[in-house]
Point group: C2
């Protein structure tokens, strides 16, 4: 047992040989350690918001790092001000540039608003629906992460605080692009990784429509990736994978599934919108876009 000078016990996880690092902030550092025993550490600052919604623990904290403020859900890293564009530009522009005229877009999850912000850069968009189960995430991000949530008040954006599983049950021929910007396949995000749900998404797509879903870390979550692609392939004729660097996700590497009934990856590219949008991006450009679909051997074997 270890006792501090104030007489308080120090949690046993600090004691060498019995250590299990918990995810979340402890002793000035935020940690997220994967089941594989490695992960990320960030010097944490003031906690700005921390509460339990009916679905999960929602927390926004300052960091004493180049990453700025951080959003975590159930103590798992969702996004940081300092690297959020790595994720949001990739989930949005890779499919959007491969559609000739995306007018109607659905984002499932994504309550921080970063994906919507990138979607709204496309002038063709007439209607963007954000279907997020947890209103607390939206409220916290509007208040504490304004550079990420800045387009949530755009009049073309319709915000539904609703379970996407319910919402998708009767959708037919409604969206050009569906982006699944979910948490991991545990907790509130779990039902978004089933073939039933993917079938409903497929039915919701118009002709030429594309679904992109975040599909976990190919290096750190190999089994999740494998399971998810197996299910996607049961539903969609085209299931491709693209990857990019996400500095604050374990392994630093992330995959997205590109799925469609009638579109194949890299068949079409909208040069006009690209010319407008690329100068606003920190990552995205046409060469980088094309390079995303080249996968390492170990990931090709997984899929």
């Amino acid at each position: 047992m270890i006792v501090s000078n104030t007489g308080n016990y120090i949690p046993v996880f600090f004691y060498r040989k019995e250590i299990i690092m918990k995810n979340g902030i402890e002793n000035g550092y935020y940690h997220e350690i994967t089941p594989g025993g490695f992960g990320i550490a960030i010097k944490a600052g003031k906690v700005l918001f921390s509460d339990n919604s009916p679905f999960q623990k929602v927390e926004v904290f300052e960091t004493e790092s180049d990453l700025g403020r951080v959003l975590t859900l159930d103590d798992l890293m969702m996004t940081t001000e300092g690297d959020e564009y790595h994720y949001h530009e990739m989930i949005a522009h890779i499919p959007m540039m491969q559609h000739p005229c995306p007018k109607s877009v659905l984002v499932i999850g994504g309550g921080d608003g970063g994906t919507i912000r990138e979607v709204m850069k496309h002038k063709t968009v007439e209607r963007a629906v954000l279907c997020e189960i947890d209103g607390m995430v939206i409220d916290a991000c509007k208040k504490y992460l304004p550079t990420i949530s800045c387009q949530l008040d755009n009049p073309k954006v319709e915000i539904l605080v609703q379970d996407a599983i319910e919402y998708m049950k009767d959708k037919k021929d409604e969206f050009d692009i569906v982006l699944i910007d979910s948490t991991d396949p545990m907790g509130p995000g779990e039902g978004l990784f089933t073939d039933e749900f993917y079938t409903n998404v497929k039915n919701s797509l118009k002709k030429g429509g594309i679904m992109v879903a975040q599909s976990e870390s190919p290096f750190a979550q190999k089994e999740s990736v494998q399971k998810m692609y197996k299910q996607l392939k049961k539903v969609f004729p085209t299931v491709a994978t693209y990857t990019s660097n996400i500095p604050t996700y374990p392994g630093g590497y992330w995959a997205w599934a590109f799925c469609s009934t009638d579109v194949k990856p890299l068949e079409y590219y909208n040069e006009e919108r690209a010319a407008e949008i690329i100068p606003t991006c920190k990552i995205y450009n046409k060469d980088y876009h094309n390079a995303r679909f080249a996968l390492p051997n170990y990931l090709k074997e997984l899929l």
Copy 2:
């Protein structure tokens, strides 16, 4: 002050508000935190080797993680058994496949042997020189990281325990490929990041020769990257950049400089050796090779 039940003081860095996480193993976890305040954490196991050479602290430890054993120098991550191929395949095959017949190869640094292992997959190689300043690194890796160091006893491999700055002073027209597999530009690696050294490397290259140097993390070490490329451009007519994922380097993303007097990147590709070598690789393939030179906007602006 905090006192354990054995009467030992617990380091003050555990005490909230006064925490500065040190790099290295402490309380069961290895941490490497960049000056930017974020980094990696790995559940550490038994320390197999730890000693100070005349140049640096050399340590090999087990981890209780998917990463297996780890080599650190001055408490900075060098390589792990579990992800080393991400680095070694990229530093070696990207330039080697762009040379029609690499016979003579020099690796500077790289005492773990991983780069040499990949180089020796190319059957054209008649002579590979490893010039590593610190014999303790070579010895520790031969003993504790045999899957990485396994080609160091190949009779075609000449090992020089020597300062590469001295070694390179009089080299003319000797190597087809030079790979700078160094530590960061501080400590023993510092002199490998000067224009004088790069000029000596350029002189050591044969016609059609290529130098590749590890060039730090574009996300986590922006200033180092910028400074290094400025110097390289003073020396080499062609300076290109390629990047790939390294799970255990901060930011999960790494860059290499591709430099030559007379070769431009992606002009030539050796299909024959590729066909032999790709099946032995966990990352490397031709599509992935070509995609490496597509850079995110923020990195293009840095360079």
